[in-house]
Amino acid sequence: MIKKLIALDVRTYRAQLKWAIPIYLLLQISALVLKGLNIPSLGGFAHVIAIIATVLLIPIALLLGLINYYRSLYTNQAYLTHTLPATPGQHYLGKLFSGFILYVTATIATLIGVIIAVLAWGLADGSGFQAVATMFRLIGSWPDLITITPVVGWSFAVIIWLLIYLNSYAVYSFCISLGMGRRLSRYGVGGPFLVYLIYYIANQVIGLAAFVFIPLSLRISYVSGAIQSKIVTVMPIRQLWRVGFTDQMNNMGFEEGIDYLGGHIDFGLGIFVLMIAFIIFSYFFTKRQLGRVNLR
């Protein structure tokens, strides 16, 4: 059943993006040709437009997921969705996975957009594909900069990338489902906005507390001229307290600053713990809400 629900959503996305994909491709090709051929003004303009389109792809994919979630579960289309022989959990997971397919597609298109942007730049300054090779080398070497193995570094990057999607889905599914629930549905789309506003304020307060008080930190040390990093189970509050609000590290260099803090800096990771907790909570809460739908 989940596969069928995903297929239905994917067909919906395909219909919605019927024009967006050719336009995006056209923008990228124009940038490559016009910038690559060094056409004055027009080349730079096309390049900038293509870069803006690339930067906007992932936010647009997330927004489209949100719109589809709302439309298929709380507008006229909901009369079809909620009468399909699927359980609330299947609806939740179907939307999660179909949105993820869109997110993966947008990520791939973003990467292609970045490669094209760099290639256009390379062609313009004569370095050609060398510019792309340099970009890949730089990207590939980022774990070395903080002295971690590539496996750990890339795993961390993938986890962050996954968390961005999971957290976005958890937030909008939670806000829409609660905002369109029995008590708030009378406000129409104002219901989800109200829930989001409350969520946002609560998230800032709890997030700050989690950042400072949860005993999980990324420790950055400076040993023999090299930056090292590891995850430790200590609270960053003590260091924050020492630095205080007077910004005592302002006039210190990096090395001096680290010495002042005791040889390392701890960045709180409590916010990630909170994020994962919210994703789990949102799954159970939203599933329950979907099982008690109220289409007025």
Binding site: K4, A7, L8, R11, T12, A15, Q16, N76, Q77, A78, Y79, L80, H82, T83, L84, P85, A86, P88, R182, R186, G291, R292, V293, N294, L295, R296
Partner: protein
């Protein structure tokens, strides 16, 4: 007769406004039941409760012993509003129904579209409201299920086309199934009904077999409706 739907003391309010109040009845196999009443009498609320699209304040509804949310495979439902994405063609809609409902009969659906003079490749967004309603009806009536629930199936359809629609419902409806049809266009459809349930301000005003009612009063259902809901005759809210 086997009970297909059982509604026990169902109540649902919208804030201070009453939707339906302590309604109880059951529908048995093979019945065609008219759910009648003026606007705001609770017809759509009751149907949404049966479909699990609204949650009751109290009471219980079962469809063949299952809660509404678990019984969707057993019901073919036509809501008041059109519910397919406007990007869809009928071909795409057939695909959706085929994917989700094992009982969907595409041959029957195609034949109904033909009766309604609709094109299978025509996008829904290019259809008029009446054409969209016909298209939805073709989909819903092409399933083979124990219960059909049609909420105002002819609301946006011109009088000339209503006869075609009615014939189509009768031809495509499985005689062993139960049909619950809500409408306020009574004179057009009353010959279909075995039984009528009149709602007023969220209550059941009258629940009778049509033949008995006609024999007792010597009047058509449409006339009975007009008398029941005449000014001064309506139940106080």
């Amino acid at each position: 007769m086997t009970k297909v739907v059982e509604v026990k003391g169902i109540t649902r309010n919208y804030g201070a406004r009453r939707g339906v109040d302590t309604i109880s009845f059951s529908l048995v196999e093979g019945e065609i039941v008219g759910l009648l009443g003026p606007n705001g009498s609770g017809k759509t609320t009751l149907i949404k409760l049966i479909m699990g699209l609204l949650q009751p304040d109290s009471g219980e509804i079962t469809i063949r012993g299952l809660a509404p949310m678990q019984a969707h495979a057993l019901i073919s439902y036509l809501p008041e509003n059109t519910y397919l994405g406007d990007w869809m063609t009928m071909e795409e809609a057939f695909r959706v129904f085929e994917d989700f409902y094992a009982d969907f009969d595409q041959v029957k659906a195609l034949s109904m579209l033909d009766d309604f003079d609709l094109e299978v490749r025509q996008p829904l967004k290019t259809m008029s409201k009446g054409m969209q309603e016909k298209a939805h009806l073709a989909l819903v009536m092409s399933r083979n299920v124990p219960l059909y629930v049609l909420d105002e199936p002819m609301g946006g359809i011109d009088p000339a086309a209503r006869q075609t629609i009615l014939e189509s419902i009768l031809q495509n409806y499985n005689p062993g199934s139960t049909l619950l049809l809500s409408t306020h266009l009574i004179s057009d459809v009353e010959m279909l009904f075995d039984r009528v349930i009149f709602l007023d301000q969220g209550y059941v005003r009258l629940d009778r077999q049509v033949e008995e009612l006609r024999a007792e009063t010597g009047k058509s259902i449409d006339n009975i409706f007009r008398e029941l809901y005449a000014p001064g005759m309506r139940r106080k809210a």
